[in-house]
């Protein structure tokens, strides 16, 4: 017997012993109810039974005698009822019946004029400011012989009419710097659009306002773009590899050349910073003040002309250089009228030089002006 068997045997014995004597197989006793009992005597038990017996009857009730058959019926005395005196209601004069209502002939409402054609539903404009009345007519200015982009109030009667408004300058004798006297000028009275006699008395209040637009939808994380139709795959799955660029520098050059295209004219490119939008706007306003389309034919009013002009350094146009590059929307005759009006505008308002920055002369030496009268046609 080796050591392992001894240890094993001892362990098993210890385990069996613990199981037998350690209470492993002893269960807890089941719970029970405890009832209290008391003892009573025989007399008490008999007294308890006597309370439950029924009571005995101690008296009898006499039955009533029936009435004798010879008894006369008691006389019945009655007096006739007299009708209650009632006073007839006094006759009162009844009010005359309500007079018949005046029946006036009610004219049926005039039948609404029904158009033969169904009205055309206009789709609302999408990009309209929320609070801007959509149907608000443009305010009708009172009629003025001149129509300009901005309404001009009538000038003082003794003020000279000019394209540019300027205050009067009187030389001040005490001034150190000599001032050049200048006459006060003002722009001619103007309205923003033509007002016919039939439109003069119209109410200018807006008739309805635009409903607020609904809250914009939340941006979608992934735009649901329709999947393009699957194109049949080519039979061969191997795509040809793009040709490797010769050198990196040449690729950059090629990309630049492709981007710039033919407009890359390094020899004649003007230098210096470009005109700001404000400087361009100033030039545009200067020209449009003199662009009079009032004497143009309706066809010329539908013709857009592109006019080029070369400027001198003092901001004045070279009148001989003004030419029409192209036109659209009308015939040759209409384009000629439109060009002549454009040429007059450039010459008239450029006679004193346009307000252009001299340091950027390279940028405005050559100007190409597109005269588009579309918005003037509807005024």
């Amino acid at each position: 017997m080796n050591t392992g068997q001894i240890i094993s045997g001892a362990g098993h014995l210890a385990l069996i012993g613990w199981a037998l004597f350690g209470g492993v197989f002893r269960s807890d006793p089941p719970p029970f109810e405890v009832v209290e009992a008391t003892t009573i005597s025989t007399e008490d038990f008999a007294a308890l039974l006597a309370r439950t017996t029924s009571p005995e009857a101690v008296a009898t009730v006499d039955t009533p005698e029936p009435p004798a058959p010879g008894d006369a019926a008691p006389p019945l005395a009655s007096t006739p009822d007299t009708a209650p005196e009632s006073t007839p209601p006094e006759a009162q004069e009844t009010a005359p019946p309500d007079p018949a209502p005046d029946v006036t002939e009610i004219t049926p409402p005039a039948p609404a004029e029904v158009e033969d054609t169904a009205p055309v539903m206009e789709t609302p404009q999408e990009d309209v400011a929320v609070m801007v009345p959509q149907v608000s007519p443009r305010p009708k200015p009172r009629p003025a012989p001149r129509v300009a982009p901005e309404a001009v109030a009538p000038p003082e009667p003794d003020v000279r009419i000019d394209e540019v408004a300027q205050p009067e300058v009187a030389p001040d004798e005490g001034a150190e710097v000599p001032q050049e006297p200048a006459e006060a000028t003002a722009q001619e009275e103007a309205a923003t659009e033509i007002v016919t006699e039939a439109e003069e008395s119209k109410d200018t209040a807006p008739t309805s306002s635009l409903r607020p637009k609904p809250r914009p939808a939340r941006p979608v994380q992934q735009a649901e773009t329709p999947k393009p139709a699957e194109t049949p795959k080519p039979a061969t799955t191997e795509t040809p590899k793009p040709a490797a660029p010769a050198t990196d520098q040449s690729a950059v050059n090629d990309a630049l050349a492709a981007a710039l295209g033919t407009s890359q004219q390094t020899d004649t490119a003007p230098s210096g910073p470009p005109l700001t939008s404000g400087e361009k706007d100033a030039l545009r306003v200067s020209v449009q003040q003199c662009w009079n389309v009032g004497s143009l034919s309706t066809e010329a009013l539908g013709t857009t002309v592109v006019v080029s002009v070369r400027m001198s350094e003092d901001g004045k146009p070279d009148n001989g250089s003004i030419r029409m590059d192209s036109f659209s929307g009308g015939g040759d005759a209409a384009a000629r009228q439109a060009f002549e009006a454009a040429r007059r505008a450039i010459i008239r308002c450029g006679a004193n030089g346009f307000n252009l920055p001299p340091e950027k002369y390279d940028q405005w030496r050559d100007i190409e002006m597109t005269f588009n009268p579309e918005s003037m046609r509807i005024k």
């Binding site: 039948p111 033969d116 009629p143 012989p145 001149r146 129509v147 300009a148 103007a190 033509i194 016919t196 006699e197 039939a198 008395s201 990196d248 950059v252 990309a255 630049l256 981007a259 710039l260 407009s263 890359q264 004219q265 490119a269 003007p270 470009p274 030039l283 545009r284 020209v287 449009q288 662009w291 009079n292 389309v293 009032g294 004497s295 143009l296 034919s297 309706t298 010329a300 080029s308 009148n319 000629r336 009228q337 454009a342 040429r343 007059r344 505008a345 010459i347 940028q363 030496r365 050559d366 100007i367 190409e368 002006m369 597109t370 005269f371 588009n372 009268p373 918005s375 003037m376 005024k379």
Partner: protein, 441 residues
């Protein structure tokens, strides 16, 4: 990595293209807003060698200035403001002097008489600010009595050369001259220049006359007369004042005649048995044909310039409205859908617009709309405006305006189709029912 950098560089280059492009080539701006105002012009007296010629030259310049100013598109710079004086027709123009007074157009001319006693007028038109002559100079020859027509023709050339549209100054108007109180008003046909000058009367006042209408060549006039008790249509030769009645059935009423563009056919209304319909008649043969058969009232027909269609007035829908049908009759298409009553439609000589009378909310209007009924625009508003007629160039409309009350009187007015330049046409008497002639030869 290098490939990525190259791609990024190319993308940046493309993005910066607009900015680079602005730096190249000319500066580009777009002008979309301008002004609408009369163009200032100067027309010095036409120069002449003789004293009588100088007065004639002054008169001619005056009529030219009145014609151009009357359009509302031009404004005359008075001679008192002129710096430079035109003493010779051939002398070079001092543009600086005319620029200084802001004259944008300059008309110079000379007048003389030839061996036959006729007037010879020459003129030139200049664009002052560009320093160029507009077109070539022209010469006109006419009789002494016809000097106004010479002036009108010069003005037509100036107008046409500057605006690009045909003129309308050398034209006439036939109308109904009215005199006397409203309940006993005498009416007769009158004819005058478009500006009210040279009035002549074509009929006497013994019977009521209505609705005169010029022929396409301006040599004849159709009108309606109550001479027989019933309204009947007559055609009158303007030169000889001879007239004849169009052959229509007895006991019928015929009225509202108008020439077709061919000058041989007349369209008119005829009432028979209580029904009014449109008919056409060949003036030469007297053969007529019926265009409409509806039980409603069809009247006021007017041909399109090409003669293929007719616009007319009908109450077939319950109220008077405007309809267009083929010149041979057939299905009519309604074109007026606005509120109120429409009547007396007249097709524009250009063919693009229809002028009409509209009654709405107790007021009368003269308006225009496109031939499909769109872009309706009311030009006037008053107690009573009616009976529009087009100027030969389709730019101006003349009509009748009658004032309210027992002392009310009819007079002629004109208005530009933009609604501007509403003004009265001067006449010696009351006047109504104008019809504008084409340009005279």
């Amino acid at each position: 990595m290098m490939r990525f950098m190259m791609t990024l560089l190319a993308a940046l280059t493309l993005w910066a293209m607009p900015a680079l492009a602005q730096g190249n080539g000319p500066l580009r701006i777009e002008i979309t807003e301008g002004v609408i105002e009369p163009m200032p012009f100067a027309v010095p007296d036409f120069v002449s060698d003789s004293a009588a010629g100088q007065e004639l030259g002054r008169n001619i310049a005056s009529v030219i200035a009145a014609d151009l100013t009357g359009t509302g598109l031009f404004r005359q710079i008075p001679s008192s403001a002129h710096i430079s004086r035109i003493t010779s027709f051939e002398s070079p123009v001092q543009y600086a002097d005319w620029r200084a007074i802001n004259a944008q157009a300059l008309i110079t001319g000379a007048v003389s008489t030839d061996g036959a006693g006729r007037i010879v007028a020459k003129f030139r038109i200049y664009d002052v600010f560009s320093g160029q002559e507009l077109g070539a100079g022209q010469q006109l020859v006419g009789t002494q009595d016809g000097w106004r027509r010479i002036a009108h023709k010069v003005a037509d050339q100036v107008y046409s050369r500057i605006t690009g549209e045909g003129g309308y100054f050398d034209s006439r108007v036939v109308f109904v001259a009215e005199s006397g109180p409203k309940d006993q008003r005498a009416k007769r046909l009158g004819i005058m220049d478009y500006d009210g000058a040279n009035v002549q009367y074509l009929t006497d006042s013994t019977s009521i006359v209505l609705a005169p209408r010029f022929s396409p060549t301006g040599d004849r006039v159709l009108y309606t007369s109550y001479e027989t008790g019933f309204p009947k249509i007559y055609v009158l030769d303007v030169a000889s004042v001879g007239r004849r009645e169009l052959p229509t059935q007895d006991a019928t009423m015929s009225f509202a005649p108008r020439f077709a563009p061919n000058g041989r056919t007349v369209v008119y209304s005829l009432t028979q048995g209580g029904n009014t319909d449109l008919y056409t008649m060949d003036i030469g043969s007297g053969a007529s044909s019926r265009l409409t058969t509806a039980p409603s009232i069809e009247t006021a027909p007017s041909y399109s310039p090409d003669g293929s269609q007719i616009v007319f007035e009908s109450d077939r829908s319950g109220t008077p409205q405007l309809y267009i049908m083929s010149a041979g009759g057939g299905e009519a298409r309604r074109i007026s859908f606005g509120e109120g009553r429409y009547g007396t439609p007249v097709w524009s000589p250009r063919g693009d617009l229809v002028a009409f009378t509209k009654q709405s909310k107790g007021r009368f209007h003269i308006g225009v709309m496109r031939t499909d009924g769109s872009e309706e625009r009311l030009l006037t508003a008053s107690f009573l405006d009616e009976g529009p007629t087009w100027a030969p160039n389709g730019r101006v409309i003349m009509f009748t305006r009658e004032t309210q009350g027992e002392q009310g009187q009819a007079s002629l007015y004109s208005v530009d189709i933009t609604g501007r330049n509403l003004k009265q046409v001067p006449t010696n008497t009351g006047a109504s029912d104008p019809s504008w002639s084409p340009l005279q030869n």
